[in-house]
Structures are given as C-alpha cells and as structure tokens.
Amino acid sequence: MTTTTQAPAMRRIPWGRIGSYAFLLILAVIYLGPLLMLVNTSLKTMPAFMKDATGPAIELNFQNFVDAWNKASFPKYLLNSAIYTFAATTIYVITAVYVAFPIARGYVKFSGALLTLFVIALFLPPALIPQFQLVLNLGLYNNPIGYILLFVVNPIGIVILVNYIKTVPKELDEAAAMDGCGYFRFVWSVVLPLIQPALATVIVLQAIGIWNEIITPTIYLTSKDYYPITRGLIVFQGVYGSNWPTLAAAVLMLTLPMLLLFLFLQRYIISGLTAGSVKG
C-alpha cells in the first residue's frame, strides 16, 4: 500500500477547554483559599490552631465571635463607620447633583471650564499635607465633623453624573418649568429619579471608599471613641495579633456582610469602574 490516505477523523480532545478550566480553577483556589482559611481559623480554639494551623475546625468554637464582638468594640466602631459613610456620602451626592446638573445643561456660565476645573485635581500633586494643616488650623483635628468633611469631594463622581444627565431629554426642563415647577424641586423630584443608575454607581463607589479607608482615620482620628471599624481592626490586631482565631472571627464578621453586599452591588461597581476608565 503506497497510497497515502487522509488520517481518520479523530475525535479531537478539546485541549483549549481543558486548559481554560484548569486556569480558572487554579485562580479560583488562589482567590478562595485565603477566605476558607479565614473561616476555618475563626471556628478553632487557640490550642487547636497552634497545634495544626490548617487542619479542619472540628470543634466549631463559636466563642471566638462573641469574644471578638466584645473585645474589639465592634458595635461602637461599626456605628462610627456607618455614620461617617452615610453622612459624607449623603452630603457629597446632594451637592454633586447640583453641581453636575447645571454643568450638563449649560445653565451656568463657563460650564465647560467648570467641569475641567473639577477634573484638574486628578492631575495635581496629592493634597495630603496642606489638607492636614487646614483641618488642624480649623480646630477639626480628631473631630468627626472634620473627618466627614474630607470625604465630601470626588471629581470622578461629578464626571459620571454630568455624562449621564446629558442623556436626560432637555424638553423635560421646559415642560416642568411651564407647569410652574421650580429649579430646586425639578432637580430633586424629576431629575434624581431619572438618573438613578448613575446615582447608584456614584453612591456605591463613594460609600465603599469611605468605609474601607484606613490612611485618613490613622492620620486624623486619635481618640478610640472616633475610630471607624478599619482602624479598630488594626488596633485589635496590634493587641490580639497572636490570637488568630479571635482575630479571624473579627475579620470574618466584617468580611461576610461586605461579600453579600458585593453580590448585590457588583453591577454598580463595574459600571463605575468602566465609566471612570473611559474618561481616564
């Protein structure tokens, strides 16, 4: 037989698919591993952890959560974090809408230049030192009000709002004005509901940023009574650093609700990232 024949059509092994899944799974282990370790450790007793750090927590020691809750002043710090996040985000969003709307509509002179002015801060040196001097000289150092004020500014949010408001039909303004609706009320009760998706994105980005902030509270808040939960956790780590089961319980109590929240808010975080990056 000298005639060469076509090789029989073999069932092709889907190497691409196998490789893809292998890659995804390895990456998944790297992302899940640290979380599983956290959960596992939080359920162990200290002796069990010292004997075998990675072994499964058979005893299910929930006492760690009680200890962490009490020793880490969790309720107080959580409340502080909630107050800072809520207050600053509310003030920011309300002021930002009244900045973004007239700029998007051209209802104020030099609106283009004004928008540029807001964006320009992104390309300037960090404000860290003069900001501190300002807060210090206003007597707002180690003061919750001073702390909140530091978070009522965010140029990226303004850009997102301006872009979104431009998609709201201008005819609405005219119609509402004809019906005798005032400017303030128009923005508040007509524009706000119409820009909900952008608003949600801006709120979520701002709130997460404030909630997770660690450098600003380290600089500005010295008394324990004012600590947000992030600072509280670092202090707790300083004191209970070697007691990993209790520390892990404390970290987990903060991580779980955030992960749940993440599942609901993911959409807004993603749209914020991509909206911000288009401009960047």
Partner: protein, 308 residues
C-alpha cells in the same frame, strides 16, 4: 442653553445651589493640592500654631543629597519603581488572560468572574489581614504548600525583600479583578463576526488573538496600563497593614506618610516634618507625572499606528 426656570433673580438659583459643591472642592481638594508645592519650601510641622519658615530648596536637597537619609529615600524610590513594574506587568498579563478565558462560552464564567473581582470591595485592611493569616509561617496554608516543594519562607516577617515580594502578590490578588473587568468590557465590544471571518480564513485561535483581539483591545490596554502604573506608584496601604513601617521595605508613599505624620520604626520616632514630607510628595508626583506622560505618549502613538 436657554434657562426656563424664571428670570431676574431666579436666574441665580442654579449658581447658588452649585456653590456648596464648588466650595467643598476648592477648599478641600484643589487649593490644598496646589499648596503642596508651597509647603515643600518650608519647615512646616504638624503642630498647631508652630512658626513656619521659608527654606527654599533645602527640603529637596536634604531628600536627594544628604547622607544616609537620602540614600534611604532613593532606595524607597527605587523600590517604588520595582513595585510598580512587577504589579503592573503581572496584573496586566493575568487580568488579560482571565478576561480572554472568561469571554469564551464556558460554564460557570459568572461565578469565576465574581470570585476574582470580589476582593475589590474588601479594602486594604481586610485584604491585608486575610493574607496575614494565609501566610501564617507556622504551618499556615502557604507554608504547607511551599513545604511540598521543600521550600521555606518567613513570609511577611522574613527578609525585607521577601516581605516586599509578598506585598506585591497581595496587591495583585486584590486588584487583578479590576483589570480583568476592564478587559472584559473591552472584549465585549469586539464584534463576533470578526472571529467568524477569521475562522473561515483558517486562522488558529492564537492568530485570531494577535490579529483581531489584541489590536481591537487597544483602548482597554491603554486604560489598564495607565491605571495600573499610576495606581501602583502611589499605593502603600497594603504595606501599612501587612508589614508596617519596616526598614528595607518602604515605598515612597509610606515614607511620605511616615515623615509627615510621625512613625515609630524600631527605637527611632520621626517627628512631624510636614514641609519635608510635602517635598517628598512633590517628588513622587513628578515621578508619576513623568512616567505617566511617557506611557501616554507611547500608547497614543501605538494607538494611532494600530487603529489609524
């Protein structure tokens, strides 16, 4: 744009309502930002009412050219660049690979995507503490894993260079999701008929990637590179949580904070030298500016060449 909501004094209502936001921005962000360079020429401290003197370029000279301290500063500057290089390249490559793999028609892509993106919401403190535990040197998971290969590591408590390398790992773990999401949104803008056309022409999947995906992904490539480079040059939160202020590991951002706001390192407590810290932050800013502009220039030229 014609204004419909009244005439006369009513015309000023938008200005009035715009004012709070603008004032906040000017007072809290813009003016302090501009004032940083002024402070960098003074001996300002962090003490209320302390006198302040004009020093000219003294802070800059001290930062760059005076004895052991300036050597430490330049080391920190070099470390900042090393950190930026490794974080940017690895995060970029991993994020791109993850996005391309997830963009296929596979089962469970939503779950994987959510999982990789998840650390973004947790913030530096939780990210750092979770990894401190994961890197527990006495029989923790990573120690066990390295043990399989006969390797040992003291992780965050080991040699400075070792601790530094682990911060790079955590930084990438924490932020890879963002890079991936931006790539994914870029991939979704590429029309699928282009891939079908490539398939008909007999292109392999690698050829489809280099000839279709990669060039059309240029906007996301630019965004990611710019964000990653600028972000990693300024990032230092994870250093604070994972290893604290330790000699041989500091990057510029941490050094600025430590000189400006006092930081105990071993037996040495630095004072609040805010003028000096302002000078250091101007130096970091210039570094970011020069690298950022250079990268922008290269990326723009590349974009013009590819997309025409």
């Amino acid at each position: 744009m014609t204004y419909h909501f009244g005439r006369g004094w009513a015309r000023f209502i938008p200005y009035l309502l715009l004012l709070p936001g603008v004032i906040f921005y000017l007072v809290i962000a813009l003016l302090p930002s501009l004032a940083t360079s002024l402070y960098s020429f003074t001996d300002a401290t962090g003490l209320q009412g302390a006198p302040m003197h004009w020093l000219g370029l003294e802070n800059y000279k001290e930062f760059l050219f005076m004895g052991q301290a300036s050597k430490d500063n330049l080391d920190a500057l070099g470390r900042t660049l090393v950190f930026c290089f490794f974080v940017t390249t690895i995060q970029f490559a991993l994020g791109l690979l993850a996005a391309v793999v997830l963009n296929q028609r596979l089962r469970g892509t939503n779950v994987f995507r959510t999982l990789y993106f998840m650390p973004v919401i947790l913030g530096a403190v939780i990210q750092g503490l979770i990894w401190s535990l994961f890197l527990f040197p006495l029989g923790g998971p990573m120690a066990r894993f390295l043990d399989l290969f006969g390797m040992r590591s003291e992780f965050l408590g080991g040699q400075p260079s070792e601790a530094f390398a682990w911060v790079i790992v955590v930084q990438i773990w924490a932020n890879m999701g963002t890079t991936m999401i931006i790539f994914l949104s870029g991939l979704q803008t590429i029309p699928s008929d282009l891939y079908e056309a490539a398939k008909i022409d007999g292109a392999s999947s690698w050829q489809a990637f280099t000839n279709v995906t990669w060039p059309l992904l240029t906007p996301s490539v630019n965004t990611n590179l710019t964000l990653n480079i600028i972000g990693s040059l300024q990032a230092w939160q994870l250093f604070l949580v994972l290893i604290g202020y330790r000699n041989g590991t500091q990057v510029l951002g941490y050094l600025i904070y430590a000189t400006g706001f006092g930081q105990t390192s071993g037996s040495v407590t630095s004072s609040f030298r805010q003028g000096y810290a302002a000078a250091a932050s101007i130096i970091l800013f210039l570094l970011v500016l020069v690298i950022g502009m250079t990268v922008q220039f290269i990326l723009r030229r590349r974009e013009a060449r590819i997309l025409g």
